[in-house]
Amino acid sequence: MMAAASAVALVLVGVLVFLAVNGGPAVTAGEGELPAHAKNFLALAGPLAFGSLWVAVIALALASLPAVGVALAATIYAPSPRFGRFLGAVLDLLAAVPSVVFGLWGLMVLAPAVVPGYEWAHAHLGWLPFFSGEPSVTGRTVLTAGMVVAVMILPIMAAICRESFALTPPALIEAAYALGATRWEMVRAAVLPVARSGIVAGGMLGLGRALGETMAVAMVLSATPSLISFNVISAENPSTIAAFIASTFPESTGAEVSALIGLGLVLFAISLVVSLVGRRIAKQGGLR
C-alpha cells in the first residue's frame, strides 16, 4: 500500500523528468531545428502561449455567466430536488462528450452557422479591434474555438459553483426572505457573497481545463502558429500550444519532437499555476 502511494508520487516525478530530458534541449535550439520556421524556442512558444491564453480567456468569458446561472438553477431556483438532479445529469453528460466529437461538431455544424453573425459583427462593430478585418468565410476562428471550449468547461465550472451555492447557510436565506427580499435580492445578499470564492475557484479550474483543451481547438481553428492577434473573427488566427502539438507531432522527427515536448512542459507549467491557484481559493471557500 505504501509502495502504491509512493508509486503515484513517482509517476509525477517521472512525467517531469521524461519531459525535461526530452524537451530540455529545445530551449537552446536554433533556427532550422524548430517547427513552424521559428528562430528560437521563445519565438515559437510565445505566440502559442498567447493563443492558449486568448482562447481560454474567451471561453471563460463566455462560460462564466451561464455556469453561475445553471448552478443557481440546480440549487436555489430548482422547483424540486429532482430537477436539480436532472440538471446535474445533463451537466455530467455534457462533461462526458469526448473532445474530438465537440471538435467535429464545432467544425462542421457550429462554424458554418456563425459566419453570418461574424459578418454582421464586422459590419456593425468593425471599429472594435476584435472584429476588424475581413471575417473568415469558413467560421473557423478563435471565437468559434472559444465557444466550443466554453461549452466544454461549463460543466466543471457549474459543478463547483453548485457545490458552493449548496453551502449557503439556510439561516441566511431565511433571514433575507424575512426582510422582504425578492428571490434575486436574496441571491445577491446571501448566496453570491458566501459563494464568491467558489465561483472564482470554478473559473480558475475552468481556465486550466481550457488551456489544456487540445482536439476541439486543433480541429476548429484554422491557425497561423506564429501570429499574435486579438481579432476573433478573421481567417488568420493564432494557434494554441496544445493544438499546435497535436497537429504537428505526427509528422515531426528529432529536434522538432523535442521542441514540441518543451512546449508541453510550458503548457504544463501554465495550467499547473492556474489550477493550483484555483484549488487554493476553493479551499479558502471551504470546498474540497
Binding site: 509512493s6 438553477a73 469526448p98 473532445s99 528529432g254
Partner: protein, 312 residues
C-alpha cells in the same frame, strides 16, 4: 419542536394584510427579480441546447453509416465508401482495458494507504499533492510524457498501444485515487473499530469489512475513470498512432482507437469526402453511446452506498 413552530404559517393579526401590502416589492425590484429568473432559465437553455445539438448532429449524420459493415470491417484497403471501425473499436477496448489494469489496482492501493494506514504522515501529504498536480496535467502532456518515456527505452519514434495505455493511466490514476479515497472515507469508522476490537488484523478488516462495504462506490469511481479516458484523443494520437488494419498486440506497432479514428477520418480524407465524414460521425455516435452507457452504469451504483449509510 422549535423547528415545527417556525415552519407554521404566521398567525395573521387583523392589520397583517395591510403590512403585507406595504411590503410588496416595488415595480423595479419585481422587474429585476423577473429578469434574473429569466437569465437563469436562459443559462439552462445555453447548457442544454449545445448538448442536444451535438447529440442530434451525431445521430443525424452518423446513422447513415450505422450498418453491419461498420462493426465487422476495418479500414484496410478501403478507399472511399465502405469500411468500418472494428479495428478502432478493438484498439479502444484493448488500450482502455490495459489502462484500467494499470490504474485501478495502483489507484485503489494508494487510496487504501491514504485512508487506512497513513493518518497524516509525510508520504500521505506528498501523495495527495502529487494527485492534485496530476489531475491538472493536460492530457496531451501525458501523451508527450509517455512518448518521452518510450523513446528513452525503445528509441525515438516508437508507437504502440502500450504507450497509449501508459499515457491514459497517467490521466486515470489520479481520478481513481480521488474517487476511491472519497468512497473509503464514507465507510463508518465504527465498522472498522468493531472489526479491530474483535482482534482482526488491520488488513483483514480492510479486506473483509471496508472493501466489501465500499465496493459499489469503488466500482462507480472506476467506471467513471474509464469513461473519462475512453474518449481521450490527443495522447493516443501522439503515442498509439493510427493504422487502417487490425492490431491485437499492445506491444507491437501502431494501434487504432475510436477517438483517433474519428479524427483521422476527418483530417486525412480521400476524394469521396462524404464517405469519410459519414464514417467520422458514425464513429462519434458509437463513442458517445459507449460513454453514455458507462455514465449510466456509474450512476446506477452509488445509491447503494447512500442506502448503506442511511441504514447505519
Amino acid at each position: 419542536m422549535t423547528a415545527t413552530l417556525t415552519r407554521q404559517a404566521p398567525q395573521h393579526a387583523p392589520d397583517a394584510a395591510a403590512t403585507l401590502a406595504a411590503s410588496t416589492p416595488s415595480w423595479s425590484r419585481r422587474a429585476k427579480n423577473r429578469a434574473a429568473s429569466a437569465a437563469v432559465v436562459a443559462a439552462v437553455a445555453l447548457t442544454a441546447v449545445p448538448l442536444a445539438l451535438v447529440i442530434w448532429a451525431a445521430v443525424e449524420r452518423g446513422s447513415a453509416r450505422l450498418d453491419l459493415t461498420l462493426f465487422t470491417h476495418s479500414m484496410r484497403g478501403v478507399v472511399g465508401q465502405g469500411g468500418g471501425l472494428l479495428h478502432a473499436l478493438t484498439g479502444t477496448l484493448i488500450i482502455t482495458g490495459a489502462t484500467a489494469i494499470i490504474s485501478i489496482p495502483l489507484g485503489l492501493a494508494a487510496a487504501i494507504y491514504l485512508t487506512e494506514y497513513a493518518g497524516g504522515n509525510k508520504l500521505a501529504a506528498i501523495t495527495r499533492r502529487a494527485v492534485d498536480i496530476m489531475v491538472s496535467i493536460p492530457s496531451i502532456v501525458a501523451g508527450l510524457a509517455a512518448y518521452a518515456l518510450f523513446s528513452l527505452i525503445l528509441g525515438p519514434g516508437t508507437r504502440s498501444g502500450l504507450a497509449g495505455a501508459v499515457a491514459l493511466a497517467m490521466i486515470m490514476i489520479p481520478v481513481v485515487v480521488r474517487s476511491s479515497e472519497e468512497v473509503l472515507r464514507l465507510v463508518p469508522a465504527d465498522l472498522r473499530e468493531a472489526g479491530l476490537a474483535l482482534g482482526s488484523p488491520r488488513w483483514r478488516v480492510i479486506r473483509k469489512i471496508v472493501l466489501p462495504t465500499a465496493l459499489p462506490g469503488l466500482t462507480a469511481g472506476a467506471v467513471l475513470g474509464v469513461a473519462r479516458v475512453i474518449g481521450e484523443t490527443a495522447p493516443l494520437l501522439l503515442v498509439a498512432g493510427f493504422t487502417d488494419a487490425m492490431n491485437y498486440n499492445l506491444a507491437d506497432g501502431r494501434m487504432a482507437t475510436l477517438p483517433v479514428f474519428i479524427y483521422t477520418q476527418w483530417s486525412s480524407k480521400g476524394l469521396d469526402t462524404a464517405a469519410y465524414d459519414q464514417r467520422a460521425w458514425a464513429g462519434a455516435l458509437v463513442l458517445m453511446a459507449v460513454v453514455v452507457v458507462l455514465q449510466l452504469a456509474a450512476r446506477a451504483l452509488p445509491p447503494q452506498i447512500a442506502k448503506l449509510r442511511r441504514n447505519r
